[in-house]
Symmetry: C2
Subunit: 344 residues, 2 copies
């Protein structure tokens, strides 16, 4: 009695999730028109008045994203632009702007959050490329910036996340290669201090142990085609030459394919290649690359909807997005017996 | 006497450009510390008080960029992310934010400008992908949004630009291929309604006529690897099979290389390939691609400095940036006599 009606009350009365109520109240996509009307009616019946409501009056009408990667690498890395496109698709429905910064280092990134919070430039932020020990998580908490980490699994001490099960995906890829008969599998991994790199590295090693892959090695990289090519050249020149390589992004996989051509190795006969990320690049090369595919734009949209919900409701539970799935193409096959013999 | 001191007055007194004065007054990079101090001193001596000044008090502290391309294509198109990185580098020095939108069509883009202007969300905008007849130019003029077109040559009826001489660059590429002995050259061009596509198409045709290239054809595309591959397959299956193809971006050139492999044609013996744009992708593939190279990030920085100047001073003359230059790599050579005979 006299108690303020909350979004949770409306959700309970309408039999929908709090997220759905939030979408409906904010005029965002994510609920059908019929559901939206039903929710709005129930909200009106309960006498709901938005508290911080759809947007605080002092709100900037913008959310922020900081990317901390060298420009040349960002340029060829399809992931971020696809993610941004998806984020935009979800934001545009609520006339929310995306403020983007590209910075050189972590220090500069922290300064941006500080400035955004002080000057109220954004109402919330996305955190990408989460590190194993990441001071940004403390920073946004301290600055009281609503935030969604695009990383996981789970929360980060109060910072909710949208995440995808990288461990399951890489396990799938290893199982497929092992089933084809590969016993020496290498992986050219991403930046080693990133959380998702660690998750992938551990899952890769565990799957290889379980499946009796005799030689399983992960080589770190910076995601550039240059380092991807160099790592491939080194792996293919070693005595324990792998018959299959998994790359942590598609540009490195394309570079690896280039090195195979350069060393006169046939793909997939002499070398199988699997790419993480399935941009148009993977189907543009010959042979087209087997890839761990996921809808990155949809991932971005879900993250944006999640952030809008966090901004409207305070904290909400982390949300798991679809796991990447293997799309087999011409770059993977049984290893040739010849090469298998050479290796043993 | 009593007349307001302008930036032009300070520039004249200091013997520097108006741009330099603007940089100095706005605390932006682009002038040395010594020059900055001298300019500030002269400004003080002349009794200069900023009018719209360094930033209007109602200014949002942000500039805007709208990209109107499908997400999947943006993802693999290195140009925009490199451009954005360069823009950011110049903006960050003056704590100016970049607000980014990705929209599906021109109508949505115009709505964004309308909203930005009405709600004063941004102090200026970049216009990219300028069309032959482009209603956005009228729109930003009408909305009195300071704007810089990243296109040219020249102004667009009051909208200043930063531009690069695409006609000269493509002429260079054609001259090189003709000198190698190519007489049937094709080009897989970009979106045909874009101004820079038209400029390149006309310059390509003119150079081919002048150099007695017997067959010169431009096929339009949407910049995707998929269409680039399809166009290549069609060209290489035609009776007037080209011995060289120029692609309007690097992802299409990579796809073209894939089609050559698929059709068992050797690059460069059977087919020479030139890519517009020289991202890391061009050196990642095998053979590495001959490319028309330019520093896209620097181009973005110049455009951002230009926009900051426009915001400070009103209109300023258009500014030409460096012309792309040819970087010959393993994908171009004399056409093989065998193939040359087949063609004749």
């Amino acid at each position: 009695m006299g108690k303020r009606v909350t979004i949770a009350d409306i959700a309970r009365a309408a039999g929908v999730s709090k997220g759905a109520v939030s979408y409906a109240l904010n005029g965002q996509p994510g609920v059908s028109e019929a559901t939206r009307e039903r929710i709005l009616q129930i909200a009106a019946e309960l006498g709901f008045t938005p508290s911080r409501g759809t947007r605080p009056p002092s709100g900037s009408g913008a959310v922020g994203l900081v990317l901390c990667r060298p420009p040349r690498i960002l340029g060829v890395e399809p992931f971020f632009m696809e993610l941004i496109s998806g984020i935009e698709a979800a934001l545009s429905a609520s006339s929310c702007d995306l403020t983007l910064h590209v910075v050189a280092d972590h220090g500069a990134e922290l300064e941006v959050y500080e400035r955004w919070a002080t000057q109220r430039r954004v109402d919330g932020v996305f955190l990408v490329d989460v590190r194993v020990a990441d001071e940004r998580l403390d920073a946004v908490r301290r600055l009281e910036l609503p935030a969604v980490a695009i990383a996981g699994p789970g929360d980060f001490g109060g910072i909710t996340s949208v995440w995808s099960d990288d461990a399951a995906a890489i396990t799938d890829a290893v199982e497929y290669l092992a089933a084809l008969g590969h016993r020496t599998i290498a992986r050219v991994g991403g930046l080693p201090h990133l959380l998702h790199t660690v998750i992938r590295t551990e899952a890769f090693a565990a799957a290889c142990r379980r499946l009796d892959v005799q030689h399983a090695v992960t080589v770190p990289s910076d995601y550039s085609g240059e380092e991807g090519g160099r790592a491939t050249r080194r792996l293919l020149s070693s005595t324990e030459r792998p018959t299959a390589i998994i790359y942590d992004n598609d540009i490195m996989a394309v570079a690896g394919l280039g090195v195979a051509h350069e060393m006169d190795l046939s793909v997939p006969r002499d070398l199988s290649i699997v790419a993480w990320g399935d941009s148009l690049l993977c189907s543009a090369v010959h042979p087209p690359l087997t890839a761990l595919s996921r809808d990155v734009a949809a991932y971005g949209s879900v993250a944006a909807q999640h952030l809008l919900t966090v901004m409207a409701e305070g904290t909400v539970p982390s949300r798991q997005h679809a796991t990447a799935f293997l799309v087999p193409r011409g770059s993977t096959a049984r290893p040739s017996q010849v090469l298998a013999d050479t290796i043993r």
